[in-house]
Symmetry: C2
Subunit: 699 residues, 2 copies
């Protein structure tokens, strides 16, 4: 495939299906290109010599070489056109035409074929069912939308063409500009990961934003986004967050809904800032594209009005930032510079008769304080404050200190001119302090994402071959499930299990028990019996003398419960001292988009009643595993709350990582539950195991 | 006091301290009055015959009778002026002058005196330190702010004058109008409760909104707001929500910060809709003042664009509303009316070539469905959709069905005209679907508040006199604390405690134990020893034969722990069967604004580690008590999760109500903890008690 950057910087753009016909999409695209594009525009139409007065060609073969082809021909002709483009050496194509997988049936077949042609000719195809693409540096508007884009450094992709049209109309009024814009359409060939990668490499793109309804290959997206966010922030609205929304998204694009929990975890691990609404998306994008980065979390607030100052302080309290504590020098200097009635502590209240000079003095002193990483200037209209002057003062101080400053010049008409002056300089102005602070918060959150250490999964030394052999046993089963008879699987991956053995006669049971110090636990081992305790298939605290009878008893109970159950034997296991331990659970299931999703929680009511769990997409490293523990509300119980002995969290962290490795090594494992994983002061022990295996995948 | 309605509808308004001097507050107020007011304006100035060309009077005595007096004289003259006004029969006064409690010292003394004068002459005083008041029906602008207000049905109070100036400037641009506006200032005489009451009685006020930094008398506010919200919604920003914000508020107005938890509970019990930002405040106010009420929670979404439709559906999912399920008739009719490619299930996607007629057809069919209570019309710009036309169609359907409809005509300039047409009709238009749905959500939440049953506290038949006697025992203590020796207090209020007695010799202990079936629990009773278990002061499962020794032992341990401890005896109590029970906690502490704050949670880790508690301001009735139980995350454990026997929640509900009555009957009880209150399938038992009593209050 050609580099995607060429898609956004073509010299020659062809429109296959260009037409003069009023209201036709092929005309709208040609008009947009003709009116703006800095390069050559080539209409292709089999029956006209010119289109909109531009010399046209009858087909691709006879036309000049095209750097970018925009295809608007009827659905049945699309595939043939793509082959011609492939033969002619064109690398980048936007397929505007709809009528593919989104219509089902024939359209779906057509889409499959389109994918094959793209592979055959190494075509970069945007769409089909796309509004088109834009790139402001070369004035490229290859869309059929009614609006172009202003120049800017935000690159924007959307799975909804209508969303682009709506956003551009609004953004043009707001003065928000873009670098590249892509309507992803059906994402048959190029998808969000391709554009994230491209814009990550593009020095002109300061921020990547997007509206997505699904993510095609979650694992690849995470890997790519993680790299890109090392220097370029990504902000996404992923819709279908709620059950109702997911259902609507699936009927809109046919997206297979992955779970919101998987998206949440996956996007977070990818370093993506998630916006929950259009407003949040653009508030974050404006801050990230226009403002420098705060080097510390302390925020200074400068205001001429107490009430709005308090509102702003609340907004800071709601964010990941905090109010800066001024140094003694700053307090002294502010006391000197401000009138007696002013409040020189943060928020600085320069009081109602403050003019822009006094605002400027306060802002300068605040920004000069090393404890201040960013500032909010909040002003109510008064007889003395001139917003235009204030805007100039704010810009001057920003230039001097290179710290991010946002403003709330509260008001309507009187704020408009100042607002556009500030906007030119990249400073957003909002009426609502919460939104202004939200912008600063996005800057700080991105900085933290970028600065976080790479969570490289550790490769533990494991016995992968033995694990494969154990998994293969599932082939002898009807239901693809394995249970405690496969505890060796955990041993093969270095996860501690209590001493013990599965035996198939009572005499051997006693031998095993005698080899174990103290009493033992005995459990029926049967793939057909999932709730062992409920049927009396578990005996706890069995002494050596009781082992024989216990064996007979659990087997009898199992037989009684289900006469035709396959009984693999009875597990005889050392009994843990449960006084000082906590039951935890580590589980995994596979998400259609993101793959293996690990889950951690405490056992019993914590998972089942309080739903107190954390999730991550595997593979994860030590940091991810540790975060999983820290995130649950009951985490203090593991750290020794209420006088308990703290559990060996390092051992839990290692176990989570080893399980992460296991489920990554074996995509055949569809589901897995280690429940409980008992954690004590000295380490962990996996007590029970269930998994589901895909036999096909295993071959 | 005269009725407050007269404050907002005076015939004659005097300005004491009116002046010609440029830049003076006394001039700004007079100008605002002169330019707009429909009644008579009377400047009062000791040294000028006219002010701004209006005949002036030298003092209050010589002036005509004033329905409303605005005082802008210097601080030292304010009190004298108020006395003159009182003598002259004026009832309503706005004190603009600052320099009272907010400046401390002398100002605080002056404020106390102001309050006394107000009481003496029955003066309704707004302020001091107020921006003034407005009332649009009589074109009254008695403020020194730069902007007047548009006509409307929102009445607005603010503890920050600057916030009013800022809001009006912005609201005038947005076309948002007001009925009355009050800058509360220091709230020395009239406060938020007075205006809530007044506007509740005012048929012209559709919505009460406010910006508050504190609430003076929480209990009175709750009572008043509860009544008012029976027909008028109240939406408030209460700032100082966060720790940082509370600190800023306290330095701004000197407000004693009550806890955010108390405000949250109190405002919710009062039926107030709480807004967390200025934007939320006005989004809710616009919907509540302009739209009819939804009679059911089902929302219909009609759109020409899949993506924005999904975003809207997510917003509905985030709200308290839900997506309507259309009836078969509606589906059939939509299928008939819409093109084949349209989605006729909710959200209705009328697809990209929908004109306003097709939007209208879809909206009409949706609104006609009894499962639909409200609708959102979401449109992206296309070649065929005309927003102005669409606005007319939306208004037509709204008129026909009297169901609330909000719009997201997404776009910038092209939406402006439609937006103002819709606004005239009371329909808000937003770019962001989340905000549009937020408006509908406010309507539904207010409807639910209004329709909820009154939570009348039940008066249980209790022995109040006996309770008083028990509380009085605290006078014999040094530290105002009572403990288990006062368990009879609970008995006096009908709260079950296990059979038992406090004894002071081991022989009697044995007698008591013999009278109790089964083993007993023995606890040291000492006001000086709070952590009885830690020092070995509690013995569980003591048989009759062991009682004597156990008595000696716990007393010895207590003596050993603290030789000078006062030991009141040993409690001998029946031992509960804890197998089937759950430990709960009911507590109370007093909030400076709202008074007795009840707390409920499960014992042990649930309160201490998971902080899983619910709170309410006492007194509460059955509904409130039941909500307290339902709100905690661990509530399923009481209802019989994981095969447990369900606890007798009715008994917990009754106990909470009886404790609510106890702490309401005795303001002297500053803190109280029943911990644990053991709940089993058959009822509850209070096992332990601690309380702090204010001996002054008890007299």
């Amino acid at each position: 495939m050609g580099r995607l950057s060429e898609l956004f910087a073509p010299d020659t753009v062809g429109v296959i299906g260009a037409t003069d016909r009023e209201g036709a999409v092929g005309r709208a695209i040609l008009e947009n290109l003709r009116d703006e594009f800095s390069g050559e525009v080539v209409p292709i139409n089999p029956s006209h010599d010119t289109v909109l007065g531009i010399d046209a060609y009858s087909d691709v073969k006879s036309a000049p070489a095209l750097d970018l082809a925009v295809v608007v021909v009827p659905p049945p002709v699309v595939l043939e056109t793509l082959r011609e483009l492939g033969e002619s050496g064109t690398e980048h194509v936007v397929v505007i035409t709809a009528g593919f997988a989104e219509t089902g049936g024939e359209g779906a077949d057509r889409e499959r074929e389109l994918r094959e042609i793209a592979a055959e000719y190494a075509l970069n195809i945007v769409g089909p069912n796309s509004l088109g693409v834009m790139s402001t540096p070369v004035d490229l508007n290859a869309t059929f939308g009614p609006e172009g884009a202003l120049d800017g450094s935000i690159s924007f992709m959307s799975q909804s063409g209508a969303f682009i049209t709506a956003v551009l109309d609004w953004a043009n009024e707001q003065g928000i500009g873009f670098q590249d814009v892509v309507s992803l359409g059906n994402k048959t060939v190029l998808d969000e990961t391709d554009f994230v990668r491209e814009w990550g490499d593009d020095p002109e793109t300061d921020v990547v934003i997007g509206y997505l309804e699904d993510i095609d290959a979650g694992d690849e997206f995470i890997r790519t986004a993680r790299e890109v966010t090392d220097d370029t922030p990504i902000v996404l609205v992923k819709s279908g967050r709620t059950d109702a929304g997911a259902q609507a998204a699936s009927s809109h694009t046919g997206a297979i809904a992955g779970s919101e929990r998987a998206y949440k975890a996956g996007l977070e691990q990818a370093g993506v800032l998630r916006a929950n609404s259009v407003q949040e998306l653009f508030d974050a994008a404006r801050a990230l594209s226009g403002l420098p980065e705060p080097d510390t979390d302390g925020v200074a607030v400068v205001t001429n009005a107490g009430g709005p100052g308090v509102l702003t302080t609340d907004a800071v309290g709601d964010s990941t930032l905090g109010m800066a504590e001024f140094s003694d020098e700053t307090i002294a200097a502010l006391t000197e510079a401000m009138p007696d009635e002013a409040n020189v502590y943060n928020p600085i209240d320069a009081i109602g008769d403050a003019d822009s000079d006094r605002f400027g003095d306060a802002l300068e002193l605040a920004l000069d304080d090393p404890n201040v990483g960013s500032a909010v200037v909040v002003s109510a209209p008064t007889a003395v404050i001139e917003y235009d002057e204030l805007a100039e003062v704010v810009i001057e101080k920003c230039e001097k200190f290179d710290k991010p400053v946002v403003t709330c010049m509260m008001g309507g008409e009187r704020a408009r001119n100042a607002e556009s002056v500030l906007r030119e300089f990249g400073i957003p102005n909002y009426f609502d302090p919460a939104r202004a602070v939200g912008g600063l918060d996005a800057l700080a959150r991105y900085r933290d994402i970028r600065d976080r250490t790479v969570d490289e999964p550790e490769r533990f030394d494991v016995d992968r071959e033995r694990a494969r052999e154990i998994l293969k046993r599932v082939e002898r089963r009807d239901d693809n499930r394995l249970g405690i008879e496969s505890m060796e699987l955990l041993e093969a991956y270095g996860i501690p299990t209590p001493p013990g053995e599965i035996v198939d006669d009572p005499a051997r049971a006693r031998e095993v028990a005698e080899g174990i110090e103290g009493d033992v636990v005995m459990k029926i081992v049967s793939p057909d019996i999932t709730h062992k305790s409920d049927i009396g298939g578990v005996k706890v605290g069995v002494s050596d003398d009781e082992v024989y009878d216990a064996y007979e008893d659990v087997v009898a109970r199992a037989r009684n419960y289900q006469p035709d159950a396959t009984i693999l034997g009875v597990q005889v296991q050392a009994m843990l001292d449960l006084e000082e331990t906590t039951e935890t659970i580590v589980g995994m299931n596979r998400d259609p988009q993101f793959g293996p999703l690990l889950l951690f929680g405490l056992g019993g009511i914590f998972v089942e009643v309080l739903e107190d769990t954390s999730v991550r997409v595997a593979p994860i490293g030590e940091r991810g595993a540790r975060e999983m523990i820290d995130e649950i509300r009951a985490a203090p119980l593991l750290r020794g709350a209420r006088g308990r002995e703290p559990a060996a969290t390092d051992a839990i962290v290692e176990t989570i990582q080893r399980l992460s490795q296991l489920v990554t090594d074996f995509p055949a494992i569809l589901e897995l539950d280690v429940n409980p994983l008992v954690a004590g002061p000295d380490g962990v022990q996996a007590i029970d195991l269930r998994l589901t295996v895909d036999t096909e995948e295993l071959r």
